[in-house]
């Protein structure tokens, strides 16, 4: 790449600490290179990337800093998870788009227009279908941009034991539909949720989280899911009771139409932010569709994002209770006593 042959006349490297990204020449150069290439990506030596952002060495926080800067321009740095990076390694910066190839600068030189999709449409983009090895299907949603997914535990279990690997179908019945493998690394049998990592290293559209404690009676909510294996479907309802106690669990009750296949899907507010996970219904009562408030999972989500995909997948996982730990364990689960075969 000609960009990186240039030797700087001054020995002092630029420090791009400002958040004023209009004036971020290195990112502008990357965008220009991608625009001029046939593919929506750029391969660059890792050493050059670090120096371009003003770093001489790297750690996880520096990578996150670089990702944050790149993401504001719809760019994403693919970092391999299976090895430590060396200065001479090639890394790839890809341009991602949620709107079918929306370029930063089109051929007329117009600047990128912001997305004019509704918040609910944006939320739909983060919803996936979950397909279990026994053929059961449900819904999930992406909560982490590197592939952290949440779904219902009862979708991914059989005979009381959780599966370890399932299929995640993205963009159902669209031209860019794809099936991705995902590994379950944590779940909770009582609260009926499961966390998964999509194995593929890619950048995914994410659902934002809102505070379910702010919900009020009659507030409008939307249930997004794949009922009966259908493509992603949105149904609208109102909050019937924001704090309904069911089986000892504080639930959100609404009347949005929810059927088999919706389990694990998000319940979102009018801002398109998730407030609950659609899980249960009381018999045939239309007004008694119950969701688990998302704040039951706050700690698990934070820990998963902090640990990252690689560390999470190496941890011990109990198929019976869903407990997960990175600590060394013996022949039984320290949470429930379930004896595993390893």
């Amino acid at each position: 790449m000609a960009l990186f042959w240039k030797k700087r006349s001054d020995k002092k490297l630029p420090k791009f600490k400002s958040d004023d990204l209009e004036f971020h020449p290195f990112v502008n150069q990357i965008c220009e290179e991608i625009d001029n290439s046939d593919y929506a990506n750029l391969e660059i030596r890792f050493n050059n990337l670090l120096r371009g952002f003003g770093y001489l060495d790297y750690n996880d926080s520096i990578i996150l800093d670089i990702q944050r800067i790149l993401q504001t321009c719809n760019l994403y740095l693919q970092v391999p998870l299976h090895k430590e990076l060396k200065p001479e390694d090639q890394v790839t910066i890809i341009r991602f788009s949620q709107n079918n190839g929306h370029n930063r600068n089109n051929s007329n030189g117009n600047s990128q227009k912001p997305s004019n999709l509704s918040p609910i449409q944006n939320a739909v983009n983060s919803v996936v279908q979950i397909i279990s090895p026994n053929g059961a299907t449900g819904t999930g949603f992406i909560i982490g941009d590197t592939g952290l997914v949440i779904t219902a535990r009862h979708v991914v279990e059989d005979d009381g034991l959780s599966f370890r690997k399932v299929l995640v179908r993205q963009n159902i019945q669209k031209p860019n539909q794809r099936d991705l493998e995902a590994i379950i690394f944590k779940s909770h049998r009582k609260l009926d949720y499961a966390l998964l990592w999509i194995l593929k290293d890619d950048h995914f559209p994410v659902l934002q989280i809102d505070n379910p404690r702010k919900l009020n009676y009659t507030e409008t909510v939307y249930a997004i899911g794949c009922p009966g294996g259908l493509p992603t479907t949105v149904t609208k309802g109102v909050i019937g009771n924001p704090n309904m106690i069911f089986n000892g669990i504080d639930c959100i009750q609404c009347d949005a139409a929810i059927d088999h296949g919706n389990s694990g899907g998000p319940l979102v507010n009018e801002d398109g932010k998730i407030v609950g996970i659609t899980l249960w219904g009381l018999g045939n009562f239309a007004a008694a569709k119950l969701s688990l408030p998302i704040d039951y999972l706050t700690d698990d989500i934070s820990m998963a994002k902090h640990a990252g995909k690689k560390t999470s997948l190496k941890a011990f996982y109990c198929p019976s209770c869903g407990f997960s730990t990175g600590a060394r364990i013996s022949w039984y689960c320290p949470n429930c006593g379930f004896q595993h075969k390893n």
Partner: protein
């Protein structure tokens, strides 16, 4: 003369007949309606849903009855004290009934080998199961049936 296997299955059929007769005496005229494809009868007594059936085990026939009490908790700080309390209760329950765990459920169960005429065995098993299930299910669910997980605050 019947072979051993034939004798066993004849005993099993007699036991099934006695179970159906007892079910009819309880006021359920059609035992077939509460019998599933594996031969288990599912009947409700009070708040307890009891499953009863027979099985051929090696060289004898067993009468088995069980009733689900609750789901096994998912949290260690509930599971551990529950296990201990169940074992302590097992020490004081009469007539071979005992608390047990099966497929992530806490159940109360009776397993009795059929040696002679089982006519009196069936009411005893069902009576024991339904009494203890009715007596302890609400208590155990209230104490251990929830979750120790709480909702975090989202800023």
């Amino acid at each position: 003369m019947d072979s051993d296997i034939e004798q066993l299955y004849r005993t099993k059929m007699d036991a099934d007949y006695e179970i159906d007769a007892y079910i009819i005496s309880m006021g359920i005229p059609n035992p077939e309606r509460i019998t599933d494809e594996d031969g288990w009868r599912h009947l409700r007594r009070g708040s307890a849903l009891i499953s009863i059936g027979t099985a051929v085990l090696d060289s004898s026939v067993a009468l088995i009855a069980h009733c689900k009490i609750m789901d096994l908790p998912s949290d260690k700080d509930l599971t551990l004290p529950l296990m201990r309390e169940l074992l302590e209760m097992n020490a004081s329950i009469p007539n071979e009934a005992r608390f047990a765990i099966s497929d992530n459920s806490v159940i109360i169960t009776v397993l009795k080998m059929i040696v002679d005429d089982c006519e009196n065995l069936i009411p005893l098993c069902l009576g024991t199961i339904s009494y203890f299930a009715d007596e302890y299910d609400d208590y155990l669910i209230e104490k251990y049936g929830g979750t120790s997980r709480s909702r975090a605050s989202i800023r």
